[in-house]
């Protein structure tokens, strides 16, 4: 191993260690380095709220898009958090409608590509659902309340 290569490698090692230490100490995230904060804040509430998209079929029936295959490449963690950030950002309501419209278009595309077997939709709705955590998680499909955020029609 040549001395310049050894110096280069040592620089890489130090970058990994110092960069990670910086994020840990400062409680910050600089992907691909991170302080890895997942589940770090203790949860004490017996209720929680979550954003969820619902599809509306031509006969007016409504069903939750609770599976990743309806919203791919998003997933049930990333999409609600993205929508929350859009809602809370500047020009939130208009941008949220735009985002839901894109999700509706994506649902249609995925259906045409036979990547899900969901029914055709005429509209998509974004709700904020609230649950009381059940000891057996028996109310997964029955939230205590839901608040309509926006609706987008084709």
């Amino acid at each position: 191993m040549t001395p310049p290569r050894r110096i280069l490698l040592n620089a890489v090692f130090l970058a990994l260690i110092v960069g990670s230490a910086y994020d840990i100490v400062r409680d910050q995230e600089h992907w691909p380095l991170s302080q890895y904060p997942m589940f770090s804040v203790a949860w004490h509430s017996s209720t929680f709220a979550w954003l969820r998209l619902f599809g509306v079929t031509a006969d007016g029936r409504e069903f939750p898009l609770a599976s990743n295959r309806y919203i791919a490449p998003f997933d049930q963690s990333r999409l609600p958090k993205a929508l929350r950030r859009i809602m809370d950002g500047p020009d939130g309501p208009a941008k949220t409608r735009e985002a839901v419209a894109e999700c509706l278009a994506r649902y249609t595309t995925l259906g045409e590509e036979r990547l899900h077997n969901g029914p055709p939709l005429v509209a998509m709705r974004l709700y904020e659902l609230e649950w009381t955590i059940d000891p057996d998680a028996a109310n997964v499909d029955r939230p205590d309340s839901r608040r309509l955020i926006t609706e987008v029609r084709r």
């Binding site: 840990i24 600089h30 691909p32 380095l33 949860w43 990333r78």
Partner: protein
């Protein structure tokens, strides 16, 4: 200071066999290729800027999402590079392409509203392998004689990439443990928080649903929930000890894997890619020796099998059929013998011989 520098150099650049790193490369890229084959990154190009919330690196470097067609081509090239890197054909360029395109493709989703953490170790590992000579063994290049090195050769080049993954994984676990202690303290262990996490994860709110409903069972037993929370924080926070202690490695490395499996089973987050990096913890040369029970070598030559604290020094008869016997030497003897081997190897034909 000198001692610290010596230990630093020993940790990263202790000579190791090419076969270990080669097998790690084969398994890591092979599993990643199979795992990623059905994944489609091109759809990220179909979203407008309304969803674009770049992480710092993408923002500073002005890296944006490519159109769908371009992403489709990029991911095709990336998946091909993963396959080439796995089989070790044009291994060096394949690993470089895999790291560069993988950095972009695996980083891309994190710019759409949430940074997830299951693939950071994969990105870092690919980066290390791109700088390494991991294609010197167990590769098509070696089989075709394209790499100009003998796979029996021991070199510092075959150690540092493995240690890099060790350090990266240790930092990740440590950071996660410190985050919990910082934000919640011992409340994270002794309150009902962990039970509530386990129950909340059943409501389709994760990137992947839990593979079982065992989380509900655990949540029903506070003592079990507290024990699991305590073991999670303990394993995470103490994990860096594995870098210095072989005994700790025997306990904490499997515990860390069990912890990740537990997360997937009970809580949902998809850490499969992270788990692939566990191939770097396996001393494949020793596994091979154990599996075979004895080793056959050619013409009385041996490939010394290094250990963290010594070496399996091989002795054998000239018949070529009798099993090799191994004896364990202490670290100091290992160093002397190793250096002797190194000198002797250069004097002869590049392959260590037994005195």
């Amino acid at each position: 200071m000198m001692k610290l520098a010596r230990e630093w150099n020993r940790f990263w650049f202790e000579p190791g066999p090419a076969s270990n790193l080669g097998l790690c490369r084969l398994l890591f890229f092979g599993m990643l290729c199979v795992w990623m084959f059905p994944h489609d990154f091109s759809a990220w190009g179909s979203y407008s800027r309304v969803f674009w919330m770049p992480v710092s690196l993408f923002r500073v470097a002005h890296i944006g999402p490519l159109p769908v067609d371009a992403l489709f081509i990029v991911q095709a090239v990336w998946k091909a590079s993963l396959a080439f890197a796995a089989i070790g054909l044009f291994a060096r360029p394949a690993m470089i392409v895999a790291a560069l395109l993988g950095f972009y493709l695996m980083g891309l989703p994190h710019n759409f509203g949430q940074t997830q953490h299951f693939d950071t170790l994969v990105v870092l590992s690919m980066g290390a392998l791109a700088l390494s000579r991991a294609g010197d063994a167990y590769s098509a290049d070696a089989w075709l004689g394209r790499n100009g090195r003998r796979t029996s050769e021991c070199d510092a080049e075959y150690t540092w990439p493995i240690r890099f993954v060790w350090v990266a994984m240790s930092l990740i676990f440590f950071a996660a443990g410190i985050s919990k202690l910082r934000h919640s303290g011992l409340d994270w262990i002794f309150s009902d928080s962990f039970s509530l996490f386990l129950l909340r994860q059943q409501y389709h709110i994760s990137d992947g649903d839990p593979l079982t409903t065992w989380g509900i069972v655990v949540a029903h037993h506070p003592w079990l929930s507290h024990a699991m929370a305590a073991s999670a924080v303990t394993v995470e926070t103490l994990f860096p000890i594995v870098l210095f202690s072989r005994r700790a490695r025997l306990v904490l490395v499997p515990a860390g894997l069990l912890f990740l499996v537990g997360i997937r089973l009970l809580m949902g987050p998809t850490f499969e890619q992270f788990m692939m990096c566990y191939v770097f913890w396996v001393p494949w040369d020793r596994v091979a020796v154990i599996v075979r029970g004895y080793a056959h070598t050619d013409s009385g030559r041996v490939s010394a099998v290094p250990r963290r604290d010594g070496v399996f020094a091989a002795t054998r008869t000239d018949s070529g059929r009798e099993p090799t016997r191994y004896r364990h030497l202490p670290r100091a003897a290992h160093r002397r013998r190793w250096n002797d081997h190194g000198r002797e190897a250069r004097e002869h034909d590049g392959e260590p011989r037994l005195r």
